[in-house]
Symmetry: C2
Subunit: 476 residues, 2 copies
């Protein structure tokens, strides 16, 4: 039976693009090696028509399909389960930039285009595609869309959902919906693209998208600030927004423990600030003004923050090299944790006004439960999004720390976020890892609507089964 | 039977809030008097719980429900059909601002809050709710959401869909979905709010929303430009976006005939430009910079446009009074048309890069079909959205012009927009007026997905029946 399926799939995409056995390994395991599944085959279609033919075949034969982009999910969203029944549909070969329209400020790209390729193409056309996340070299636009990717420029430009005007989607039954509209305004009926964005491949296969482009900033200003409390950081953010408006592009918090960790990882003696502070903020402003004008208002505003006693110290990047250097500190925190091993990773969000209380109370609870934990707390605090990642004390092994405290810390952090009307997954999505947790944090009504939408679009439950939607006690 | 329904409804909302007979007239007719229906009753619940109870009763008794806000729909979206079977659910009494959070830049408002009240509340808190449409005095937030309202600040701030973080919705069966989340980032499951935004009350009753607030600009710069071609206008737009970035808040085109019409309507001899041009542009920049700094870059950029030969003339508003005065010209065009009578109103959008071709070719076709037509063309051209509203020649009665040319002009304009991958309803929605037209401009696949979503959420088809979704030949 399986052989028969394989030969049909080979007839559609060619033998070179149907991988079996050991050749599937890189596709059935996530890049961190945490989630391991099995697949009937990995199929790599080369165009939308081939995606459609594969989906039609799988639909008619009841074969589950797991769509996959760069396979950079942190939550198991992009790999199959262990049954070996599913086909992994790798979109890698749909990697063409179809069209760029500079005046309309749009770009039509296929799902398998990497984020870096999309960004570079926009840049070469003198414009900007603003999504900025750590995995940009390997993640793909299709994955960015299906997970509604976030990152370090959300503050100014929004999440991936906000960066797209139209989609081309292959439905579970193989039909193609051409919604590749490049319009800023279109109220002629339901806006269907939002069904597919952020639904992690459970409702349809995104094969191409019309992305929004933005004026490329002429000036970029970056500073590292030392602040004494999270509350002072938030007040600084409020002041910057008032003075600089939406030019405030990133506002990233870094705790003292996070800074200590990353400096050691980078082999540096100190940050650009020379001394450590309880909290640090990496702030970026970008502007279409001249660099000179932008520098002036940036420095004036930071001076005002200092005069008000909100910040204790500030280092301003003097050139592009320093801009990159400052950002490296922020970007390497995640890797520093991975290499140190033994951190509990929580990706939560709360309303901005609740950030100080969230951090204060949650830190206290975690330290009470797991004394001497290093409070590695950082993230996109301008969006209310904190990577709250408690790290083992130096004198404890990763295994003993995670075994002893892992689950309870996750519960403490997630509960604290929910108590403040927050989210247990601000930007990383659900996948399999957080699926069942939704039973605790979403209402029955909300979960039921989700399942009704799922059944409407994927009645046979073939698309990325077991992801996002938790099984309901009273099976919907 | 009907009496029994009425007494049940009275038991829920009180006798004063169940209107019958002649008291329903203002609710069953749209404000222009174009669409006239009948209702079993008009019910005005005072809170979400009452909405839920009314919906539950209607669901259990198979009573259709037509939700209504300010009843300012141009397309019949907010009034019932002539069967007299439906209840009109007026959300007017849900008019409370529940909460404002300045640091989080959010405001929780109920569906019946008027747009002007929401804007004013934001302003009094030193912040900005940016939606700006002509009907702001009477339209309500619930209607703005269910129609994804647009208007004159979309260029900078987006459509209504982009201005909301969370919703509270009563489902057709009366269950309440509390999705009032005030988070910039939340990827914990499907983003259900987008189902309800823009679906014109066919999937659920929006009872409250978390709206985004923005930094209030310190500076506003407005100019009226004279340009010789639509192409030059578009090139000017490109230059402004490069130089001023997202501070370009509005870019409104006004044709010579539109200018002549509105000046006569306002009883003015001339515009601030003194002479007429083939095209005029009202441009607004807003900025958190000081007025002095903003003025400098605004003037410099307009000078650059003049040096490049893109604009022939420019008048810059010198003070707030002039800002209002310049805007009045743009805002009164619609009323000038209504009073003149005999215009065919088309609300289309195309990619920005296609605007010049669209205007040129469509004007030629309309003039060929209906000679001496006045080409009243204006709108949010920075969004690719044109109100293309051919007006009768002065020597023809409104009736004879509309009878003779109305339908054919609509077909010409809509077809031209579709030929350029545009939309036949950029911001006004579908309602009943454009419902069947969707059969011609949307694919079967797209219409089928719409119906599947409708059936998933409103299986008895009780919510605003006959709106938005056209009957499919092969009934889905």
């Amino acid at each position: 039976m399986s052989d028969q399926h394989v030969s049909h799939l080979v007839a559609i995409v060619g033998a070179a693009n149907v991988l079996l056995g050991d050749d599937t390994l890189a596709y059935v395991t996530d890049y961190r090696g945490v989630f391991r599944g099995q697949a009937l085959a990995v199929v790599r279609p080369g165009c939308t028509e081939e995606v459609s033919a594969v989906m039609t075949y799988c639909y008619e034969n009841g074969i589950p399909v797991v769509p996959q982009g760069g396979n950079t999910s942190l939550l198991g969203g992009s790999v199959p389960d262990t049954s070996g029944k599913a086909v992994v549909l790798a979109l890698t070969r749909l990697n063409h930039i179809r069209h760029i329209d500079e005046l309309n400020a749009t770009m039509v790209v296929e799902a398998g285009v990497t984020l870096i390729a999309a960004r570079t193409t926009a840049e070469e056309a003198g414009t900007l595609f603003p999504l900025r996340i750590g995995s940009e070299g390997s993640c793909q636009i299709g994955g960015n869309l299906s997970t509604n990717a976030g990152g370090t420029a959300v503050l100014r430009y929004g999440n991936m959902r906000d960066l797209v005007l139209g989609l081309e989607v292959v439905l579970p039954n193989g039909k193609v919906w051409n919604g590749l509209r490049a319009l800023r305004k279109d109220n002629a009926g339901y806006d269907l693209k939002h069904l597919f964005i952020g639904s992690e491949g459970t409702l349809g296969i995104i094969t191409a998208a019309v992305l929004k482009l933005f004026p490329r900033p002429r000036a970029v200003c970056v500073a590292l600030l030392g602040v004494e409390t999270a509350d002072a950081a938030l007040q600084t953010f409020g002041l910057l927004r008032q003075r600089l408006g939406t030019d405030v592009t990133a506002f990233e918090l870094i705790s003292e423990d996070a800074m200590t960790l990353v400096l050691s990882h980078l082999g540096r003696q100190h940050s650009p600030l020379m001394t450590l502070h309880p909290w640090h903020v990496l702030v970026e402003m970008s502007s279409t003004a001249t660099q000179e004008d932008a520098d002036a208002i940036f420095v004036t505003t930071l001076s005002e923050a200092a005069e008000r006693g909100l910040i204790s110290d500030a280092a301003i990047a003097a050139n592009e090299k320093q801009v990159a250097d400052f950002w490296l500190i922020r970007e390497e925190i995640s890797d520093a944790q991975t290499r140190t091993r033994g951190s509990v990773r929580c990706d939560v969000s709360v309303p901005l006004s609740s950030i100080p209380a969230f951090i204060r109370e949650t830190s206290a609870k975690v330290l009470a439960a797991a004394p001497e934990t290093r409070m590695v707390v950082y993230g996109h605090v301008g969006d209310g999004n904190v990577h709250f990642n408690p790290l083992r004390p130096g004198n404890m092994t990763p295994e003993s720390y995670l075994n002893r405290h892992g689950d309870s810390i996750t519960r403490i952090v997630d509960q604290a976020a929910m108590d403040l009307q927050g989210s247990i997954s601000a930007e990383h999505g659900v996948g399999t890892a957080k699926r069942d947790e939704l039973l605790n944090v979403r209402s029955q009504v909300e979960l039921e609507i989700g399942w009704r939408v799922k059944q409407a679009l994927d009645p046979l439950n073939l698309l990325n089964p077991g992801k996002v939607l938790p099984e309901l006690p009273s099976a919907a």
